[in-house]
């Protein structure tokens, strides 16, 4: 008999329903709080403090000018970073779009195998991969050495220690972060929609421009963020492959913290980088039409 159930259980069940979502979001919430929000607040507060370089002791001085000073000191490194990360992202999109497209459309039942092939190099540590690139690109290495030996390149030609090498390294290291979101987006497209486009008189190019590309936009947006943002703050590629003239902002921040022990300066510079990146992303989302993006996410 349903009426015989104890009454108490009803409100208890309801309480459970009310709290369940909060309980479920607790791990994620704690994660965000401890590993993101607290460090962020600490960093922002550090950038307003003044530190004694010798002792490392810091006192809050509400030194707002720090941000402006850092920006004017390092704006050229900031620009270089945007320039390199942007170039690497563009290269990655251009290179991985055909790869992702091919796997999604023609991979058949070997799709997962091809994706794995794409990822295999990335089982090797980030730093080691980059160091290997410095061997490959070195002045008398496998590539340049051979070409120079065959007199296809002048002896003075070099790639290592230039911006090109840094961009190549960034593009190589972040390729999966572009290829995978693109693959997911293309894979989700109903292939019959392409048939429909051809049926409605679209040429191959028109079908691509009017159907495939718009349907890939959300993936393109994700790919851009996942590649550009980490590349922007990267310092390994620049230090291993680059020269001394094209310093990226990541290197400056790293030096501030680890070499100069200038915690306030490093924090302020990080905050500036974050602010500039956020403004850029919002502008970019606006440009692409954020409503269109939301619809697919």
């Amino acid at each position: 008999m349903p009426g015989a159930r104890p009454r108490r259980s009803v409100p208890r069940a309801r309480l459970g329903k009310v709290f369940a979502p909060y309980l479920l979001s607790l791990p994620a919430g704690l994660w965000l709080l401890i590993l993101f929000l607290i460090p962020l607040v600490v960093m922002l507060s550090l950038s307003l403090q003044s530190c004694n370089n010798a002792t490392g002791a810091c006192v809050m001085t509400w030194h707002w000018a720090e941000f402006g000073q850092q920006l004017s000191l390092y704006h050229s490194q900031l620009l270089t970073s945007f320039y390199f990360a942007g170039a690497a992202t563009v290269i990655d999109v251009v290179v991985s779009f055909p790869i992702a497209y091919w796997i999604a459309f023609y991979g058949g039942n070997k799709k997962n195998f091809f994706l794995l092939m794409l990822l295999v190099p990335f089982f090797v540590s980030f730093v080691i991969r980059t160091v290997v690139w410095s061997f490959i690109l070195s002045d008398q290495g496998v590539v340049l050495g051979t070409l120079k030996h065959a007199h296809l390149l002048p002896q003075s030609f070099h790639v290592l220690a230039t911006g090109y090498a840094v961009v190549a390294g960034l593009a190589y290291n972040y390729l999966p972060f572009t290829a995978l979101p693109l693959y997911v987006a293309i894979e989700r497209i109903d292939k019959r929609v392409l048939d429909a486009a051809y049926d409605l008189y679209a040429s191959k190019r028109q079908a691509f421009m009017n159907v495939i590309l718009p349907l890939t936009m959300p993936g393109l947006f994700a790919a851009f963020l996942l590649t550009f943002i980490p590349a922007l703050g990267d310092y390994v590629n620049q230090q291993v492959l680059g020269g001394t003239s094209d310093t990226m902002i990541g290197t400056v921040i790293q030096n501030a913290f680890l070499t100069n022990l200038d915690y306030a300066g490093g924090s302020a510079l990080s905050a500036v980088l974050m602010a500039v990146a956020l403004i850029g992303i919002f502008a970019y989302a606006r440009l692409l039409g954020s409503t269109a993006i939301e619809e697919y996410l």
């Binding site: 109903d190 048939d195 486009a197 049926d199 008189y201 679209a202 619809e295």
Partner: protein, 372 residues
């Protein structure tokens, strides 16, 4: 006056798919001529090659052998975007990132039609398919029936010379499907273009088509009008696939004047037309009788008709009619439909001994029995 060119003509079309080491023959030796303005249906069970045939006509698949002509022009090898036919896909395949208007306008835009003409024709077409006021909706904001009509409008707005519809109503529930059948028929009359309609639903094919091709395992079993297909199925497969039919097997005992007498059991004889088939006495044959052509009676009816005796084993009330299953003395189960008209009383109940009878013209020879 020269004869009008057929809208669609397939000659000797074969399609083989290679998957690894396997070769699947989806279509074998298909010859098909569809007239201008015809409502033509391809009917058959799932996997019999209907979609493949359709995709060959549209140009998505190239035939392994044979040719495709549209209005007298050989289009074999011409890509789909250069063919003057449009397709309504099995799952609609609407463009999810475009609204209803943009979906319907897609074909016209690719053909560089002027802007105001596009908007005039799209709106006109949306009115025809009862979708005015929905032009700014996205496909996923529409019901199944509405999406179906967008797919139809998107194809029809281009005024193709033939429209190919691949199970267009397959995803709709029964009520909506029946409404859309009427709607489709109306639209076809209104626009007057050739419809090639793929379905596995025999009722749908029978009610809508001018002619039906019944397909089985990549080949056409019978191509005829709905009435001919229903009343005179040419094979056991067609008889079994279209409606309910009773199969009786027997041996020809005598043949004279276009009629054969078939012995279907010990001393039980049935008369059937020979359909100009050369039948020698002694040949094993199969014939079919439709359930609604059979009369039930308590006594053996007088006259020259066919009659069998049996026991009622099942009675199912169907509303407008009642279905009786009778196990005859020959051993075969025979299904009989009787209208529940005002005059009909209780005809029989389970366990009753009863006589079945029908006119010789209603038994139809479908060929030699399958061996074994």
């Amino acid at each position: 006056m020269e004869a009008a060119l057929p809208a669609i003509e397939l000659t000797g079309v074969i399609k083989e798919f290679r998957t690894g080491h396997d070769v699947v023959t989806a279509v074998r030796e298909l010859d098909l001529t569809i007239a201008e303005g015809e409502f033509f249906s391809l009917l058959g069970p799932s996997g019999c090659g209907k979609t493949t045939t359709m995709r060959i006509i549209a140009g998505f698949e190239e035939p392994t052998a044979g040719t495709v002509s549209l209005h007298g022009r050989d289009v074999t090898g011409v890509p789909p975007n250069k063919r003057d036919v449009n397709m309504v896909f099995q799952s609609y395949a609407l463009f999810p990132h475009m609204n209803v208007f943009e979906n319907v306008a897609f074909g016209l835009r690719r053909r560089n039609v002027a802007k105001d003409e596009i908007s005039r024709r799209v709106n006109e077409m949306l009115t025809i398919v009862n979708l005015d006021g929905r032009s700014h909706r996205r496909p996923r904001e529409l019901s199944g029936g509405q999406q179906q009509r967008v797919a139809l409008a998107r194809a029809l707005v281009n005024k193709p010379r033939a429209l190919l519809l691949d199970e267009p109503l397959g995803a709709l529930d029964l009520k909506l499907r029946q409404a859309m059948q009427v709607e489709l028929k109306r639209i076809q009359r209104e626009v007057g273009i050739t419809f090639v309609y793929v379905t596995h639903d025999q009722g749908e094919a029978l009610t809508m088509s001018d002619r039906i091709a019944v397909m089985n395992e990549g080949a056409i079993e019978q191509l005829a009008s709905p009435r001919e297909i229903y009343e005179h199925p040419s094979s056991r497969f067609v008889a079994g696939f279209i409606g309910t039919s009773n199969l009786l097997a027997g041996k020809a005992s005598s043949v004279s004047g276009g009629d054969a007498v078939i012995e279907v059991g010990a001393g039980e004889r049935i008369v059937v037309g020979t359909r100009d088939l050369a039948i020698a006495p002694g040949t094993e044959l199969e014939l079919t009788v439709r359930p609604e052509k059979i009369e039930l009676s308590a006594e053996r009816p007088a006259g020259p008709g066919c009659a069998l005796r049996g026991t009622v084993t099942e009675v199912v009330y169907l509303g407008t009619s009642t279905s009786f299953t009778v196990t005859t003395t020959t051993g075969a189960d025979v299904v009989v439909f009787q209208q529940n008209s005002a005059l009909a009383g209780d005809l029989a109940s389970r366990g009753d001994q009863i006589w079945l009878s029908w006119q010789p013209a209603h038994s139809y020879l479908i060929g030699q029995s399958a061996p074994g």
